[in-house]
């Protein structure tokens, strides 16, 4: 395990920094059901951190705790070295944590461009009258934000659908637009909830490439949930494995792969 608070260097030579986010003894209950049980782990700057586990392991719940959609009964969330007070989801987003959803949550009625632009709302500082009248600083600000957005649209190769209403797009492209919107916020931490769910092999490969490129190009710290073991192992630097709300493994893909508990959870084990 890693105990070097200065970070580490990955196999492919990328430098991983200090701890960005730390979950300390998180417990989340829904009535009598314990969705997450006393889990701790950290996410480091610049790394791709995966949370995996079988169905119902509590992965999505964990992501929702990080993004503020769920409030854990016990435990602390530390972000950039300070304990995070209880926050509502939009406040978490304003802190620089962007996310995508398992079932895609896009603004269906808006164009791709408008969708991605909503990711920049936090960067618009001019007041409402300047904006409405398109005066002075508002224009410069809009141009500046548009440039940032266009860069991301280019990067994710969705220029050809910029003006298309999102509702007309196929599933795979919608996922990519959602990623673009999250990226537009220039997040300190990007959360991806099953970015490859429901995709075919080719789309999965595309998405994997984009995730790696995003991490590489922008240095974005990424935490993702994924079902597909193969994809996760190729993609991530470190993996947390969950099963029935408990953490059963944490380490590099190789460490996790050879962990007996993890093998049991995935392949099943006879209790005799």
């Amino acid at each position: 395990m890693l105990d070097n608070s200065e970070g580490y260097v990955t196999e492919d030579g990328r430098k991983i920094g200090g701890v960005v986010m730390e979950m300390k003894n998180i417990t989340l209950r829904f009535g009598g059901v314990v969705a997450i049980k006393d889990i701790s782990f950290d996410i480091r700057e610049g790394e791709i951190r995966a949370i995996i586990g079988p169905n119902g392991a509590g992965k999505s719940s964990m992501l929702n705790v990080i993004s503020g959609f769920y409030v854990p009964q016990e435990g602390e969330v530390w972000f950039h070295g300070s304990k995070r007070p209880q926050m509502r989801p939009f406040e978490v987003a304003q802190q620089g944590i962007a996310r995508t959803f398992q079932n895609i949550a896009l603004f269906e009625g808006m164009s791709v461009l408008d969708n991605v632009m909503t990711g920049r709302l936090g960067y618009m500082k001019t007041n409402i009258f300047q904006q409405a009248l398109w005066k002075g600083k508002a224009e410069a600000e809009e141009t500046e934000n548009r440039e940032a957005v266009e860069k991301i649209i280019d990067f994710l190769e969705i220029q050809h659908i910029r003006k298309t209403p999102v509702s007309r797009l196929p599933y795979g492209l919608k996922k990519r637009v959602e990623l673009a919107r999250a990226l537009a916020a220039e997040p300190k931490l990007l959360l991806l909830d099953e970015p490859m769910a429901g995709m075919n092999v080719e789309e999965k490969e595309d998405m994997s490439r984009f995730i790696l490129d995003v991490n590489d190009e922008f240095g974005t710290t990424i935490a993702l949930i994924e079902h597909d073991m193969g994809v996760v192992m190729d993609l991530s630097d470190r993996v947390v494995v969950m099963d029935y709300g408990k953490k059963i493994g944490d380490g590099t893909p190789d460490e996790v792969r050879n962990n007996q508990e993890v093998i049991d959870a995935y392949l099943g084990v006879s209790h005799d």
């Binding site: 989801p89 808006m110 408008d114 909503t118 709302l121």
Partner: protein, 328 residues
């Protein structure tokens, strides 16, 4: 020029003016609908409430006077002062913002992520609640509203047309003012929803609550804002209608006239609300003028609804509504 044609022109002009007033109410509906995905049934009652509050404040009426008098056996009805119109309008707007906050706090907040039909039902409840509160606060008698808008025949137009056609048109000054105000209102609202950060956030919230949260938009703030804007539009419509026909409870029924306007123009289109209003305004006046005498008159009562019905059959999304595309 033949006399009939000149008459028809006056009728059309009057129809356009009436249409603007319809459009003004319809606008309130479209705005809330576009901005929050809610069809706000209470829009008409909000216009009534705004107009009553405005009159009440201007006349220095004591709110809930009947309730207070019945409870404590007192006889207070008026504070004994009059508030100038402009100041009263600002105060009323404050009340509408407060109302928006209450709607958000006590209704909308509990319905995050619900189906549109649930939200719609909530607004029906709100309409009845608000009607009751308006009655309790200000009483149910018909009141005169005069905020100093020009009223009566426009002499300039009368004279000019008289010189040309030998027949002076009768156009109410109030209608002209209403037209100008409606145009300004639309321009302001379009600029707001298309070009401002808050407008963009508003459209985002209308589309998807979760997604809006995930990009850092506060639902609560946006909702208070949306309902405040709706309250503002209601106030403007309330002032116009209240000045025209007195502040009375039938004012909330003008919302019904807005429905055919919306069906014609489409629920999602601001230009649609305006064009729809104009078509209905002109249509019902012309119909009454041309066909009315043949069928015994009073066609204005039903013409708009029949027109809406025809539209529903042949073009359910309205003239400007978003096209309904069905994927097979």
């Amino acid at each position: 020029m033949p006399e009939q044609l000149v008459f028809a022109m006056e009728v059309i002009l009057n129809g356009l003016m009436a249409g603007v007033l319809y459009a003004l109410v319809a606008l309130g509906f479209v705005l809330i609908y576009k901005a929050s995905g809610i069809f706000n049934y209470a829009q008409g009652v909000m216009a009534l409430f705004a107009a009553m509050t405005l009159v009440g404040i201007m006349n220095g009426q004591v709110p809930f006077a009947h309730l207070i008098n019945a409870t404590f056996g007192t006889h207070i009805h008026y504070f004994g002062w009059n508030v100038p119109a402009l100041f009263a309008i600002i105060l009323t707007m404050g009340v509408m913002v407060l109302l928006a906050w209450c709607v958000q706090r006590f209704v909308m907040r509990h319905l995050v992520g619900q189906e549109p039909i649930i939200l719609f039902m909530a607004t029906i409840g709100l309409a009845y609640f608000l009607e009751g509160v308006a009655d309790l606060m200000w009483g149910s008698e018909i009141k005169k509203l005069d905020v100093g808008l020009p009223q009566g025949i426009n002499l300039w137009l009368d004279e000019t047309t008289f010189n040309i056609f030998d027949y002076g048109f009768f156009i109410d000054n109030l209608d002209i003012v209403a037209t100008i105000i409606a145009a300004l209102l639309v321009a302001a609202l379009v600029a707001f929803s298309q070009y401002t950060k808050q407008g963009r956030a508003m459209r985002a919230v209308a589309d998807d609550h979760q997604a809006a949260l995930s990009v850092g938009i506060s639902l609560n703030f946006i909702w208070v804002m949306v309902w405040s804007v709706a309250g503002f539009v209601a106030l403007v419509a309330g002032i116009m209608w209240g000045t025209k026909s007195g502040v009375q409870f039938s004012l909330s029924l003008i919302a019904l006239k807005a429905l055919p306007v919306l069906m014609l123009g489409g629920f999602t289109s601001i230009p649609g609300a305006i064009v729809g209003g104009l078509i209905i305004g002109v249509g019902e006046k012309l119909f009454e003028f041309a066909i009315g005498p043949l069928v015994g008159g009073a066609t204005e009562n039903w013409f708009a609804y029949v027109l809406a019905l025809i539209f529903l059959v042949f073009r359910p999304q309205g003239l400007f509504g978003e096209k309904i595309i069905e994927r097979v």
